[in-house]
Amino acid sequence: MPIQQLIQQIAWATTMVSLISTGVFALSYGIGYLLRGAPIPFREWKEYGQGLVTDAIKSAFMAMLYSSVIALISWIITIIASAA
């Protein structure tokens, strides 16, 4: 397999995974609120729902942060290289 094709396939897989992640955020967020708001007398289930909501928000935030992470890493490496 040519390398360019491999890179394209990796980029395609990354895009697909990101799209699926977006769907899964929404699903987790929905399930989380469903569990939180459900009229069930189990406190653990409600806490689990709250955890799902928190994780969905955290993951959505991390998904947006990727370019910032790259910028931060390149900034740190530039500082170290210029200091050396």
Binding site: V24, G51, A81
Partner: protein, 296 residues
């Protein structure tokens, strides 16, 4: 070679992005299994580490230059270039090999000394084998040193490609490639310098300094020449030992030390870790669900 480096950097950059996305997907999945969800933060951390490794190619080059300069300065070698040092080593070994061969053949020619020749050949055959092996080893080392400046970056970036594969599939191979390229690129060009430094120290302490002392004694007292003649064989023997230790035994020991360093550096870079530990990450829903299932 730079074309390969660019391609490897592109592939590892893509794999890092894929690992990050997979980490987010795994973290956000509404699956009540802690051992699956624990991979989420681990994958994101692996992605960040491989991005750091991607950016660190220049830093490794700076580190290499610094270590080489530091070692060269501390050794104080008169050679600026590894190829000159290598030529010195090879010429000494070739002379030793030729001298041993000439000695045996010269003694073998005379019929009277035939028993001595057979005894000498049985004594020196192992030495000859080892010296020839050392010549072959030094020639291989010279070939590697010539190739290293172009090859090590490609090997390092290929290591990052394996390192960046999601779920730590190629992590061991990746760290091994990265560590071996760093250690070889720094350590291998220093091998001829170290050998000559070692040879100089051994030869000076055991042969040249006693010879200098004896010569100064002879200048003051000409009768001391008898002592000089008596100690000359031991001085020559010590010189030969210095050459054999530093040029024949030393390269094998040095390569062994480099392999141990490579293994240690590979472990430091993360080659020893197999997967995320459940105790190192705490994910709220998984913890809550495990207590939920525990509680009934």
């Amino acid at each position: 070679m730079s074309e390969f480096v660019g391609t490897f950097l592109g592939v590892s950059y893509g794999l890092s992005a894929l690992t990050w996305s997979l980490g987010i997907l795994v973290q956000t999945m509404p699956v009540p299994r802690k051992e699956i969800r624990v991979w989420g933060p681990c994958l994101m951390m692996d992605s960040v580490v491989s991005l750091f490794a991607l950016g660190s190619v220049n830093l490794v080059q700076i580190l290499m230059r610094w270590v080489s300069e530091m070692v060269s300065q501390s050794i104080g070698s008169p050679f600026n270039n590894p190829s000159i040092a290598m030529a010195t080593v090879l010429s000494q070994l070739t002379m030793l090999d030729t001298a041993l061969l000439l000695l045996i053949s010269a003694v073998s020619v005379t019929v009277v000394l035939a028993p001595v020749a057979s005894a000498l050949s049985s004594m020196f055959s192992h030495a000859l084998t080892w010296v020839t092996t050392a010549i072959v080893l030094w020639l291989i080392a010279q070939w590697i040193i010539t190739l290293l400046p172009e090859v090590w970056v490609a090997a390092y970036t290929l290591g990052i490609v394996f390192f960046a594969i999601p779920f730590r599939i190629g992590r061991k191979l990746g760290t091994l490639l990265m560590a071996s390229s760093i250690v070889l690129a720094i350590g291998f060009p220093l091998m001829p310098f170290m050998a000559i430094w070692l040879e100089g120290n051994f030869a000076y302490e055991n042969s040249l300094r006693p010879l200098q002392d004896l010569l100064s004694q002879v200048r003051r007292n000409p009768l001391a020449i008898v002592e000089l003649i008596a100690t000359l064989p031991s001085i020559l023997g010590n010189l030969l030992v210095a050459v054999i230790i530093s040029l024949v035994i030393f390269p094998f020991a040095y390569i062994f030390v480099l392999s141990v360093l490579t293994k240690s550096l590979s472990n430091v870079l993360g080659g020893a870790t197999s997967g995320p530990s459940l105790s190192s990450f705490t994910i709220a829903p998984a913890r809550e669900l495990s207590s939920l299932s525990g509680g009934g």
